[in-house]
Symmetry: C2
Subunit: 392 residues, 2 copies
Amino acid sequence: MPRDVFDEAEYERRVDRAKERLHEADLDAIVVSDPANMNYLTGYDGWSFYVHQAVVVTAERDEPVWVGREMDAGGARATTHLSEESILSYSDDHVHSPYDLHPMDYIAGVLEDLEVADGRIGLEMDAAYFTAKSYTRLQQNLPDAEFEDATLLVGWVRIKKSEAELEYMRQAARISENAMQAGIDAIGDGVPEYEAAAAIYEQLIRGTDEYGGDYPSIVPLMPSGDHTDTPHLTWTDRPFEDGDPVIIELSGCRHRYHSPLARTTFVGDPPEELEETADIVVEGIEAALDAVEPGVTCESVEKAWRDTIAQYGLEKEDRIGYSMGLGYPPDWGEHTASIRPGDETVLEENMTFHMIPGIWTEAVGMEISETFHVTSSGAETLADFPRKLFTA
Amino acid sequence: MPRDVFDEAEYERRVDRAKERLHEADLDAIVVSDPANMNYLTGYDGWSFYVHQAVVVTAERDEPVWVGREMDAGGARATTHLSEESILSYSDDHVHSPYDLHPMDYIAGVLEDLEVADGRIGLEMDAAYFTAKSYTRLQQNLPDAEFEDATLLVGWVRIKKSEAELEYMRQAARISENAMQAGIDAIGDGVPEYEAAAAIYEQLIRGTDEYGGDYPSIVPLMPSGDHTDTPHLTWTDRPFEDGDPVIIELSGCRHRYHSPLARTTFVGDPPEELEETADIVVEGIEAALDAVEPGVTCESVEKAWRDTIAQYGLEKEDRIGYSMGLGYPPDWGEHTASIRPGDETVLEENMTFHMIPGIWTEAVGMEISETFHVTSSGAETLADFPRKLFTA
């Protein structure tokens, strides 16, 4: 992500909002390990999250500090507006080290230099790349610090998007539409699953005539045949066969912003039950989208879906959506609000969600999804793609 | 990964070897969180690692136990040989939960049922996805357990490959060759970086005429122009320009097995310095490959590289390789042996490594890599692709 993705003022606003939450939580600093949160606060972008790294925000210091592996410091210079004194790096012998060195030893030193080592420090305790070992090494190095769980502190800042962020999500939606069409076109009797995946992936990266696509945080998912009830299986060498339902879930990505989309197609003549299920899912998703407006809760949106499908004797226990946008593997979700019973998050303008309800019966699985933006007047769906069962 | 990727006996051998290491470490059980380790022991394959999941191996029980999210249990049935009583799952309200529920609460209950709750339990303390929160929740739920760091226990089993694993790595190498050729062919003056990335990705998934490719654990990396010293940047909309060096690092993937490959190309007429650097890197990598044989140490292989480039007044501080094979995002490395000073791991037959030395001078960056298999007579490189500087 080059430095011109967002202007410097946008990052300053984000850091200011994170600092407000630091203040509210009475924290002196936060160690941000989630790569999406690191990107959000600084612009840092690189496939370096397989080693430990962090952005540290303190209540006192104007700029965040980026800390990572020496060979990635150049990436921080290339993709952030940070000044040179805010880019710190550890030597390569900390990586998968046989010398009892750990990157968190270095990061503990940075926290000392920032004069927060005896303060209250927020940690993203449940973020994918903040390991148990990272935590125990910080504890060992900083015996006077008081650590607090701040997993979602930045996530709750991220949930409301700026106009510039929404523009990248709309661009991602254009890519999603193109890739979905490529997938539906590629699927057919006798075509191996991987060929459809290749067509989708090629289009996800080729993007549109005006701009390319970034890698999505989740690969295209294409459960098919007997496996439409196992949503996280990926493609195999198996050829599609007449009679296969195929669910396609994918997302275009633009400067790490996503706009996921799911549709279901059928190889051959779909059974009547699947056609009927598609109609119910479409009716349910439209009822849920109609329920969206600033001031209502996430659970009330879910209820609109549930009440609709209940009329047909159907129920679904899983959540039907979640806030999302900026992301890195393994996930494009923000892990804050979910559209499900018990989630009393109140919708506000410029929040963005992926609504992905599905119905799985004994015979078939069916998913249709939309990414939507909460506007003053309701839900604006980002993609423009027919909501129906496709056939191949 | 369907169940026929490896036969059941291969998984039994792997579990037996893991149990030997449990015994050596005096552990009653291990909670395996790394998705590559979960796959290695059971065959489980799915993009579900963005939620907490585990495979539990105990000293006493024959079969490992898979524990994951309810909607992923079908994936475990589809991709493993495990019996139904060894597939356990938690309800969806544990996921990004607003109810103070955590998947590790459920997994703690599984450990109780397995009668190891008051025993010595190995945890993959530094594995991506085993979060600090996962650790503290296990501690809270199991006050009588004694936890030990077993991050690399399964990794040290994985380092030596079976013939069946090597065959998948060779298949991955065929895909790497095809994708590298597609990338080199696509790069040219005025071509946007994303178009080259799209061509590479399409080929990575399309694979070969005989079989398709799985998604690689790391996206194709293509630092170019001024950024060849920042190895983990990904593609942008920028068009390649005459005078750009471009490093391509990629890996084909087959049933989650990788065979990474890096080459450098140059848009236009390469400067003499880059040509000379390429010759030095090729000489150095060949010296290092020649040094490989069972019984020598990793550090002695690195020394062969370092001594060779030192003759030209060059030095490089980073490690030049690492053991690898099976993997999931964010990494295809096994995190055990590294080819670098101080690593005294003794090479044994059927270990596999990615050797990726690079030289970065003020003016240029240059990488050429090979994936190799340690045979009784030395290093067998898996890909067959010219070791030289390419031009576009």
